[in-house]
Symmetry: C2
Subunit: 510 residues, 2 copies
Amino acid sequence: MQMVYGAAPEDTGGMTANQRPDTARRPDLDGLFDAKSVAVIGASGTPGKWGFGIMSIILMRSGSREIYAVNNKGGEVLGLKAYRSLEEVPGTVDCAVIVTASQYTPAAMEDCVRKGVKFAVLFPGGFAETGEEGAELQRRVVEIAQRGGIRIVGPNCMGHFDAYSGLFTLPYEIPVKEGPVSVITQSGNSGVAILTTLSAVGLGLSKYVSSGNEADLHFEDYLEYFGDDDRTKIVLGYIEGLREGRRFLNLAGAISRKKPIVIIKAGRSDKGADAARSHTGALAGADEVSVAAFRQAGVIQVDEISDLVDTALAFSGQPLPRGRRIGLISMGGGLGVISTDALRSYGLEMAQFSPATIDRLNSELSNRWSRGNPVDPAGDPIVYPLVWPLFEDKNVDAIMVVGGIGVVGGLATLLPVHPSLRNEYARIVQASEQQELDNIDKLLAFRDRYRKPIVIARTVSGFKTEETSRVAEKMKQNYLTPYPSPGRAAKALARLVEYSEYIGIAGGRS
Amino acid sequence: MQMVYGAAPEDTGGMTANQRPDTARRPDLDGLFDAKSVAVIGASGTPGKWGFGIMSIILMRSGSREIYAVNNKGGEVLGLKAYRSLEEVPGTVDCAVIVTASQYTPAAMEDCVRKGVKFAVLFPGGFAETGEEGAELQRRVVEIAQRGGIRIVGPNCMGHFDAYSGLFTLPYEIPVKEGPVSVITQSGNSGVAILTTLSAVGLGLSKYVSSGNEADLHFEDYLEYFGDDDRTKIVLGYIEGLREGRRFLNLAGAISRKKPIVIIKAGRSDKGADAARSHTGALAGADEVSVAAFRQAGVIQVDEISDLVDTALAFSGQPLPRGRRIGLISMGGGLGVISTDALRSYGLEMAQFSPATIDRLNSELSNRWSRGNPVDPAGDPIVYPLVWPLFEDKNVDAIMVVGGIGVVGGLATLLPVHPSLRNEYARIVQASEQQELDNIDKLLAFRDRYRKPIVIARTVSGFKTEETSRVAEKMKQNYLTPYPSPGRAAKALARLVEYSEYIGIAGGRS
């Protein structure tokens, strides 16, 4: 087999048994992501149950939309009247969230058809992913839904949300803020891991969907919708197998010209593909093929969730570089060597500074500095005055700083605190914090003026002020969150460069 | 050039201008790491000065040894009488820590000779790393020292310590506890990064040295000494260039049979080598050569500090596996696919479980579980009962668990906390904590009984109880600290397997 997503006239575009060739046009998902009325079928007041988590979060986040609890036992759920059936719900229901076990799902879907529901989010597992019996049950549910024109998310999914509309069908309370990232995931647990990792680095989201078994709505449908969504600036995806491979590549090719698409394609290895088949019954393509086809469509492929989020962080805050010549500043010579190795291993180039830049660095530093790129101040504890000349140097396309930025109090916080000096240290840290805040403002202004990305790598763990300071908060808010290592910063920067070359902002390799 | 550390009869074994061919035998460094009397020349009471940090830490940590402050201004330093010169110090001085600027170092060394000092730790830069003038100054200092039989650490170094003897000449207060790791670093700042990262994952140290310019004592001297040190179970190194390449390879070949040697060889790339030359004037070998020569000597080579510490963590706590067949448990199918891909990418094999194991897992889990390796409980929120059968299965050489272990309260901590349920959640978390502590005891007992390594990967960031719980503490103490991602856990496990094969505990690839 030459290509999984091959171009032979008669091929199926990589579609599996789960194909739906007649719907290769963008479904209108506004009613899914901003449903005005939502019913939770299987709502529960018992902590630990899915129907409890989902119900609580909808209630906390829902804003002005109508929320209904449906539970065949009646009574109350979290202070809300629980209707014994969907029929009893007084108003219309745009979106039904179904949490009841798989064997009750056909009946619940029949209720949805009668009620005129538009979208159903199906949490239960026990469908196609478990074998032929489950697949048959899944087909029945889809048939019922299609009769009523209902579009299905899932089954075997873990919810969806729109951070701007405020509709959340998540079972867990994950701190989600508004932002530029949208996520489509074929694994619910991977989705939770992606969301908590995004949150940890300060990234906000537009839309999220756990697509589950994709019995009706496919990865490609969400991708097309997110491609047109102005609030989505970056699309992240977790894929085990695509139902409409050719459509995916066509969509990705078009969307990736406008916004980056970053994908984990899981199941690339032999045994990983076996695991994917057992997990979602997905057809996992051979790795080398999808790598080539994905790359041709402008898709940025990564291996791990941390890598996915690292990449999203770079694209969230940074302008696209005009080339691959990196100016590197490292607080320590050895760290500069490690960082240079990392940049080179990703094919980036070390910028040749202009004579004016060298002069300016000479005037800031003792004659022990490295006199070139990487800039190693060789003990002089300054960093920001070294950054400004690099922004202004036309030979520098992007900047990487290793250590020194965002560490309130600097190495002072690692100095031994003799009891008599406590107050003095507190003063040092406070003054340093204000100075850092001012410098970060200036850095952001330089970044905007010169349209050059700057990535920061942390080198020392455990600074007392690192995680909690106002500086850390400000850096997060401006998507300047430091990467945990030079290698990860370099890799994220390389992705920016490659994408910039792909869309034609940066030239190719020199 | 075939080999940098080649075997041609007449070659110099990779030695540079800084060679010292006459001392290819183990120097006795007991007097360096456990000096009974120490003088700090350039001791200072001014926070921010090196002489302050070093002096404070020696005083805090020194125990019963004699500590003297020397400062040509006299007076007091941190409550201690400051002698105007080394000569005035009343007792003997085994070890002198010299913090004064480079131009005063020859005079300070003359004082050391007169005083009968055995070891000098030279912090100042401004020597060979700055050019020919500095190199000449460095040669003068070495000549003076050799007249008195003084052995030199540095210059241009950032101190040394022995966590067991309690002698610390570090300028920063880094939380260091006793443990199995020893570190030799040719970069002081990289050393600080290594130490804080080791501390963050709970690893303790035996000995540490920042070797600086290696004017006298070389990386190889420390390596030989650490090779014979019973408390050192793992040697970590940061290398830019070796002075005695052949000696290094001979030593490494012998030591790596007894204990793992894990090395960052920085300056592997073209521009990285340039940066290394500018940093320490080191001769950086071409990457492909050193990779081959290092591997032949059993050296485990890594790229980043995080990787160095990940590897040290695996070797600190884990028995060596008898093969490369991994049993994988993942709390989530997608995470299982990602993790399988990661294990395969490092050449590890997925174990084929015995029928007995499958039976036992069947009895623990609903019929929705993955029925094979990786074990995906498909929603059943249990993990420990899945671990025990894998320890007992003869087809499993090592275990990796992704998610589920060490997260107190489990996903409950991500559940929405309705105010009326606060107490109930607190109870859940508390009960869960005790249960986790018991289970971890049991896990450690299984690990010891079956001599199988188990690595744990964290998947979800931001659990409220993750970092601070007694469980996290217990895991750290037993070197079970979770890796931040499946990829990093898999890589560390692969290193264990490869080393185990190298020393012949595990067979080769099947």
